[in-house]
Amino acid sequence: MEPGKANLEVFAATLLRLAQADPDILVVTSDSRGSGKLTPFAKALPEQIVEIGIAEQNLVGVSAGLASAGKKVFAVSPACFLTARGLEQIKNDVAYSDNPVKVVGISAGVSYGALGTTHHSLHDLAVLQAINNIDIVVPADNFETQMVIETAVSHPRPLYIRFGKAAMPHLHAPDVHFEIGKAITLATGDDVTFIAIGETVPRAVQASHLLAAQGIAAGVMSMHTLKPLDETAVLHAARHSQAIITVEEHSVYGGLGSTVAALLMQNRLSLPFKIVGIPDEYTVTGSQNEIFAHYGITGEGLADTAQQLLAAPVKVGM
């Protein structure tokens, strides 16, 4: 995989390019322009950035008001604060009132590493999935990032976009087809399929390479849209694989894994299945890479999980 930039940088550059041609595009920040890589945007288009200060509830409420008056609003703030402190505003002012704000959670998951649990967002996908009328997209690489931002500008509904801050390898060719709600298949294989989201996707790709060397064919899907979930792609993978492994930088409760599990059960599909994410415990201290390694979110860790899953006898009944 060719190295790329941090998705955040691509987000900021894409937004600047689009906003230069469209004065209705506004960025709203909560003392977060630096962490959002938006300093160049603020310098180039000072009339198109609205600074709220460290006040996430107000950030979301003001964004809803701006969107209701026809502005194309990107509300940008660290995911940990935005989707916790600003949650009631996302629920009521954005989703329930149907104000099509683009809620952008940056430095999400465990991107802040050793800064600790206050700065981690391992709950955001779970809480937002339970709220009606907001779509959820977590792009994996630079191309997905660029395309979700280009799509978001005219997206007619409330949208949550979640970014990490690590440099991401290129997973796709620049002309990859991207559509909100449609998973992108990166590899096909009928032994096991990894359904991964966000910054975990390249790790699933690495796992598929390691497994291939051992004669195990692993499929990989970038499930960049959590809601609406691409149910067709999930069901197809389940019907053409021996096992499914979901991978996410989120609590194992309420995110991609739980959602895929519910879909499989309700379609009477029973197969070896594993949810890989951050377990329900005090998260270990470390960088994002170290935390990922600790919880098995690496090429090696995911390959091991696949082998164990495929080797375990399938239990029927008791």
Binding site: E47, G53, A55, G65, S68, G70
Partner: protein, 284 residues
Amino acid sequence: MLQPISKTLELKSIQYRRKILTIIKQANSGHTGGSLSAVDILNVLYNHVMNVSPENFQDTNRDRFIQSKGHSVEALYVVLADKGFYPEAALDTLNQYGSHFIGHPTRKVNGIEQNTGALGHGLPIAVGTALAAKKDGRSYRVFTLLGDGELEEGSNWEASMSAAHYGLDNLVVIVDYNGLQITGRVETVTGITNLREKFTAFGYAVREVNGNSIPELIAVFAQLPFEAGKPNLVLAHTTKGKGISFIENQVDWHHHVPTDAEFATAMAELDTAQAAWGASNGTW
């Protein structure tokens, strides 16, 4: 002599109070005290101050009203019906299965700008809307009605910082200052006092009025904007339950529904009030 408009609005307020009590009684639920407290403010805004009507509701240049104290929705429903946003008969469905007329404002009801009900949400949205007007060079104004108990929500003070920072003199914040919240007197619940000083310190141009006085409300809104470059704040001193003697200033009437006897007494009091204006029932 009062201006004719003032008399017209006084009679409307009496009729609005009748209707508020009627729909709450019929639904067997509603926020009686707060609706009676706020209805004179809504009356003056919708019938005398704001440029908004069913005809221009899709027009970008309309004035906006966001009722942040969403629980007083019965007052808003009654005023919007009188403005012609929907037939008055629609209010017979209040809080009934499948109705759009629920216990807090929603945009499914024609004339309502934003879904509210959770406290502390209206002001940030109003700030964003007023900021959009400034950025677009439009002249519409954004009005929002807050409760005094609602000011305990910190988001109001976050939004106030932005309102002053961006010089939103097209934003009009009205506090329905009736002194009561569901637990008791606001000042004994958390001691939120000195509101004039607080709002002035946050950068508002502040005016105080009797928020149940039609002439005072007419007069204060005629002065908008109070000061160029500053958000406007009207501290409207009101009486919770205003207009019905046994409901006024009674904490228990926050969402109490009148009994048959109480309803009859209330209607009789409103008839007396109307007679004092020299008009017969129903001729407003």
